[in-house]
Symmetry: C2
Subunit: 203 residues, 2 copies
């Protein structure tokens, strides 16, 4: 007789494995979450499973800005009060939520769904850059704000998009670089501090 | 006309909310996971939802040791090679998996499903302590290993269980306290180091 190694019941192992596939969920966290789900009331677990299926069934990409939405075009693209002469280009749908939370931007968006990253095999054709150019060629847009993340890949992607937009005669801007509000000057990294001094504004 | 605040599509908000209810998942992580699930292939998301439902449908508590299992009694309680004279008492089903991974323990288990924690309104009656006493009264058990977590609540729970078991004449032990293997002596906290010195073993 062979000694079989004990492992948790098969559905438990299965759930640990599926959770572990999610970004930022390590094996330990996947285990903790699984055992939490095992103990959770059935209705709560059902609600979670249903919510997962609902995003797959009911969410589509807006055919204009490629934001995720339940209706096409999305509420932002079809909003009667939005400024249609401005398009803010972002990497992810999450960035739209963050920008809308500020309330200072009233224009349209364009979601690239990633950044150019040769290391990960993501070239310009994997992103929604071509549809952006088509929107601009359609006319009516006077300013494009390139709001990719202020890191190496984000900057490179912005540069690439900028070069494609430049010939179209549209004004291209990007959010200011500087000291984060509420931060400490002495803890700011060198690059941020340099940008903040270079871009100093009159009071 | 009132200005409506933009929020992500309703199924997205729903999923963020459900994920946020899980332990250790803050609002930011819940958002990240949600957008990952939105982009994920439909089949992968289905597998995750199915795995969640499977643990609710197919997992029960073993009527003997209260470990989580697909079959009752669980494979450990019904294992022909397990030493039935020893019961190791643990807080969670996860602890069983951790102990079984070591391979050094061949006895049975008893899962308390928590610790006594008056702050959280968890008294002895919320735990599987009564069934443990019933098992011991059934006879045949010579040693109980109290392997609750080595923290305040775990120790208090062990003390409580110990007091109840003592009159039954069963030997009660607990895992050794000392320096974690692979650790650095200079980084060990005071209490751990004290316990390690007090419990020093001859070489």
């Amino acid at each position: 007789m062979t000694t079989r190694r004990y492992s948790a019941a098969e559905p438990v192992g299965q759930l640990v494995e599926e959770l572990h596939k999610l970004p930022g969920i390590g094996p330990k966290t996947a285990q903790r979450l699984t055992y939490h789900l095992v103990r959770m009331p059935r209705d709560d677990a059902m609600r979670l499973a249903d919510a997962i299926l609902a995003v797959k069934d009911r969410i589509v990409l807006c055919s204009q800005c490629y934001n995720i939405t339940e209706t096409d075009p999305c509420p932002l693209c079809s909003g009667p009060t939005r400024d249609r002469t401005r398009i803010c280009v972002v990497e992810e749908a999450l960035d739209v939520v963050a920008l809308e939370r500020t309330g200072v931007y009233t224009g349209l968006y364009h979601v690239l769904h990633g950044v150019i990253s040769p290391m990960n095999g993501i070239g310009p054709d994997e992103l929604k850059i071509r549809p952006l150019l088509d929107r601009l060629k359609g006319g009516g847009v006077r300013e494009v704000i390139l709001a990719t993340n202020p890191n190496l890949e984000g900057e490179a992607t912005s540069m690439y998009v900028h070069n494609l937009i430049a010939p179209l005669g549209v004004k291209v801007t990007r959010p200011a670089r500087g000291l984060p509000v509420g931060g400490d000057l002495e803890y700011a990294d060198e690059v941020t501090l340099s940008r903040a001094i270079e871009g100093r504004q009159s009071m």
